[in-house]
């Protein structure tokens, strides 16, 4: 049996999370077919065909698929479900909306947000906001799975040569319809969705000095975060707080400047893929979790990094 992976995209480009989910899909050990669904998404399908390890690309284009309505998308997936033992997708807002619907229509359970593939039917997934890891076995014939992207490496976007096969889009359902989109216009990405985050702590010293953190963030296209101490000291607004009582984040890159690394902060960012810490105190606990640590003065390091990147 084969694995079906539903691609994530924004209508024009393939989302990087799909590349991570492809790794997970390939770990199942069967051929991987990727479904690209949308209104006008041929370019996305062509890009997927180039990715390493893709056997086949199914392209479904139609108005009913334009706005990711779960009712329509789940109908499309159901029309081909019987050909696959595993139906997978990166855990983004589209698949989180659609996949449980698919699972219920198949009368199977869903494995949400898996972080490891142990075998074709055994997986790991975080529970209790990542404070515990469950190992679970699916007893169903068809496994419906969403994949936490940060837990898997991305496959190469080149080297593949899969065929792209067009399939029919479903009819639009009569119960739900799209009205409007309002995409966020903020120059910086949102903290919880950001691929990269640059954070500042009490060591930044003042609200004015936070401009240094923001400058590096803008250079990297990163979101800006802060520790509770920085928020309590009035350097930045409360909604930038990362930690136990703030936001829980898991970006690919988390850079902590002048943050000591109290456990309350670590609770909010410890699942980041790569952590960088810059602190003048070489005993700061943040270094115990940082992949790369630099003992130094952030007022020198920040401008230097911003300049050299």
């Amino acid at each position: 049996m084969a694995t079906l992976l539903i691609a994530e995209h924004n209508g024009t480009e393939l989302a990087p999370a799909t590349l991570s989910a492809l790794t997970a899909a390939q770990q199942i050990g069967s051929d991987v077919t990727v479904l690209v669904a949308g209104a006008d998404v041929k370019a996305v399908a062509d890009a997927v065909a180039q990715c390493a390890g893709v056997s086949k690309v199914l392209l479904a284009e139609g108005d009913s698929l334009a706005h990711d309505l779960a009712e329509n998308l789940s109908e499309l997936v159901m029309s081909m479900a019987s050909d696959y033992s595993h139906i997978m997708a990166p855990a983004n807002s589209v698949s989180k909306d659609t996949m449980p619907r698919v699972a219920a229509l198949l009368d199977v359970g869903q494995l949400s947000d898996i972080t490891a593939v142990l075998s074709g039917d055994q997986f790991q997934r975080p529970i209790y906001a990542g404070n515990a890891i469950a190992t679970v076995t699916s007893k169903d014939a068809t496994k419906v799975i969403t994949v936490r992207a940060a837990a898997f490496d991305k496959v190469a976007t080149t080297g593949g040569s899969a065929t792209v096969e067009s399939i029919a889009a479903p009819e639009a359902n009569s119960h739900s319809s799209w009205v409007s989109d309002e995409l966020s216009k903020s120059e910086r990405p949102e903290l919880t969705a950001a691929e990269r985050i640059v954070s500042g702590g009490r060591g930044v010293g003042s609200a004015e000095n936070f401009a240094l953190v923001e400058a590096l963030a803008d250079k990297l296209g990163a979101a800006v975060g802060a520790s509770r101490a920085a928020v309590d000291s009035g350097f930045v607004a409360n909604d930038l707080q990362v930690g136990q009582t703030g936001k829980i984040v898991a970006p690919s890159l988390y850079m902590a400047f002048g943050i000591s690394g109290a456990i309350q902060h670590l609770a909010g960012m410890k699942d980041s893929k790569v952590i960088v810490a810059v602190n003048k105190d070489e005993d700061a606990p943040i270094f115990q979790v940082a992949d790369y640590g630099l003992v130094g003065d952030l007022f020198e390091v920040l401008p230097e990094m911003t300049e050299k990147l």
């Binding site: 009490r202 010293g205 003042s206 509770r228 309590d232 000291s233 409360n238 136990q244 009582t245 109290a262 456990i263 309350q264 609770a267 005993d283 606990p285």
Partner: protein, 541 residues
């Protein structure tokens, strides 16, 4: 006008004394309308105690507590008492020389939090209304000065004092009698003692800070029922003692109690406890284990001599809110429960016959009770330790408790004030504490993390300063602002900023231990109730 509700009796605080009051009232008169307010998110959430329980009061409250499933699962099987000479050496005190009050045959190692949860179930079964998550913030008085009840705090007020969309005005709870059972240094009890001059005939109250951790240990090292007490190292500049109890489920509790009349401003009770765990006596059990929970709470320990009058017009103080702990036994639960039961018996009589006076009815019953006898006979224990030190004081207590059975025909008084004892930094020797190793010892914030404490961020700070300039003024110059060290939750920090040192209050970390309210040398900090449900969420503590 705030909304109000009427009850026969309103009880403030769902700990052992408050719940015993409620239960006894209902046992005596099932018709009474009784309400218990609890500031914690649930009953037991804010309860922290050692604890070894003497079941005397519980036997009187529920003869059949075993059938009712009371959580007394670990009978004490062995008592050990040690004096620690230094960080390596300990000396066990032969059992025969241990003061009788410190022996634990027939007692149980318990979680007082779980005992409270169980007492709350019994109380609710009897028809008591218990409201967790509601803090009694204010005392209400009749025009003639009698206590009328309490008001719960407003909810949904922002840090700057404005009403948020979730704003909910506090409620008035009126009662014929209001019983205050807030535990040590209750913030309303403190006001009542002052307003009614309840302590006129008492010595000044004395306090200690207890810090406790719960550990999951290697089953091979676990000896259910083993009770270890002791004193000595690492405390050099303070008196106090430690405990280590092997409870059920391969868990042990470890703790240190530091008397709050200590002198050295550099002393950090928290760090004293952290280094204590490196002593072989502790390490042998804790090494390789996992710390499960952490908490701290002040203890009222003045005993008989410092006990205020417990009745006043329309109200009573019970348990540690008054100060019924028996320091010689290092136990307060059975005495707190008994005080609540005696209060309930008196209130029930007075409610039935309004020609009786609560003050006299209670004090007559109290004088006849074992509670009075127990507190009176141990009245010299703590003052002896203070006066003569651990060794001579210990000898005095051996003589008093074992030979004379508490009948020493003198009474020692300790009339000093705990907060006034602190030396200045110029007089005191700085203490360098070792860094935590992350295995046996930990930093403050990692510990606070395990207390599950939290407070809604956008609310007025519940640690109030009478004078904002003191922390960075006289407290800093004279005492290097000791709040940074005595607070076991890292609430207080002096932060160096370009404009100079500032006093940072991380109220969110607060464990409601009340140490700051007690120990600040300038008596400048007043603990008030935060929004209901705020504070620790202790499991099994």
């Amino acid at each position: 006008m705030r909304e109000s509700m009427e009850f026969d009796v309103v009880i403030v605080g769902a700990g052992p004394s408050g719940l015993s009051t409620a239960i006894r009232l209902k046992q005596l008169n099932a018709e009474l309308n009784i309400c218990v307010l609890e500031k914690g998110s649930e009953v037991g959430a804010h309860i922290l105690s050692g604890a070894v329980l003497e079941p005397r009061a519980l036997n009187e409250l529920f003869e059949n507590w075993q059938d009712l499933g009371a959580p007394l699962n670990t009978p004490v099987t062995k008592d050990e008492v040690y004096v620690l000479k230094n960080g390596e050496v300990s000396k066990e005190i032969p059992h025969a020389l241990v003061p009788n009050s410190m022996k634990n045959d027939g007692n149980y190692i318990v979680s007082v939090g779980n005992l409270s949860r169980w007492l709350a179930e019994q109380a609710e079964g009897l028809g008591v209304e218990i409201f967790p998550g509601f803090a009694a913030a204010e005392i209400l008085y009749h025009e003639d000065g009698r206590v009328k009840g309490v008001a719960t705090g407003d909810m949904g007020i922002s840090a700057s004092g404005e009403q948020l969309p979730t704003y909910m005005e506090g409620m008035e709870l009126h009662a014929t009698y209001t019983v205050f059972s807030e535990g040590c240094r209750g913030h309303l009890g403190k006001q009542l003692i002052q307003k009614f001059s309840l302590d006129t005939n008492a010595d000044p109250q004395h306090y200690a800070l207890g810090i406790k951790e719960l550990w999951q240990i290697d089953p091979a090292k676990h000896q259910p029922g083993l009770v270890v007490h002791g004193a000595g190292w690492p405390l050099e500049d303070a008196s106090g003692g430690f405990f280590l109890y092997h409870t059920d489920n391969n868990q042990v509790v470890a703790g240190l109690i530091v008397d709050l009349n200590y002198r050295n401003p550099w002393l950090s009770p928290y760090e004293e406890f952290q280094r204590l765990k490196h002593h072989p006596l502790f390490k042998q059990y804790l090494e390789g284990g996992e710390r499960v929970s952490y908490g701290a709470r002040a203890i009222t320990k003045g005993g008989w001599n410092a006990l205020p009058t417990m009745t006043m017009p329309g109200a009573m103080l019970v348990g540690c809110d008054a100060g019924t702990l028996n320091v010689a036994k290092i136990k307060g639960t059975h005495t707190a429960m008994k005080s609540g039961m005696l209060a309930a018996e008196a209130i029930s009589q007075v409610l039935a016959d309004d020609s009786l006076s609560l003050g006299k009815t209670f004090s007559d019953a109290f004088d006849q009770s074992w509670l009075k006898q127990e507190l009176y006979s141990t009245r010299n224990f703590a003052p002896a330790m203070h006066k003569f030190g651990t060794v001579l004081g210990g000898a005095f207590n051996y003589l008093d408790q074992n030979i004379l059975g508490g009948k020493m025909p003198i009474t020692l008084h300790d009339t000093s004030l705990d907060h006034a004892q602190m030396q200045t930094v110029a007089q005191a020797k700085k203490i360098d504490y070792p860094k935590p190793d992350g295995k046996l010892s930990f930093d403050r914030l990692s510990s606070v993390f395990l207390s599950n404490t939290n407070h809604e961020e956008d609310q007025p700070c519940h640690l109030t300063l009478a004078d904002d300039s003191i922390p960075t003024g006289s407290n800093l110059s004279q005492f290097a602002e000791p709040a940074q060290r005595y607070c076991p939750a890292g609430v207080y920090e002096i932060v160096e900023q370009a404009s100079g040192p500032t006093f940072q209050i991380n109220a969110q970390n607060c464990l409601h231990c009340k140490t700051c309210d007690i120990k600040d040398p300038a008596q400048n900090i007043t603990w008030v109730t935060p929004e209901g449900t705020g504070g620790p969420n202790y499991p099994n503590m």
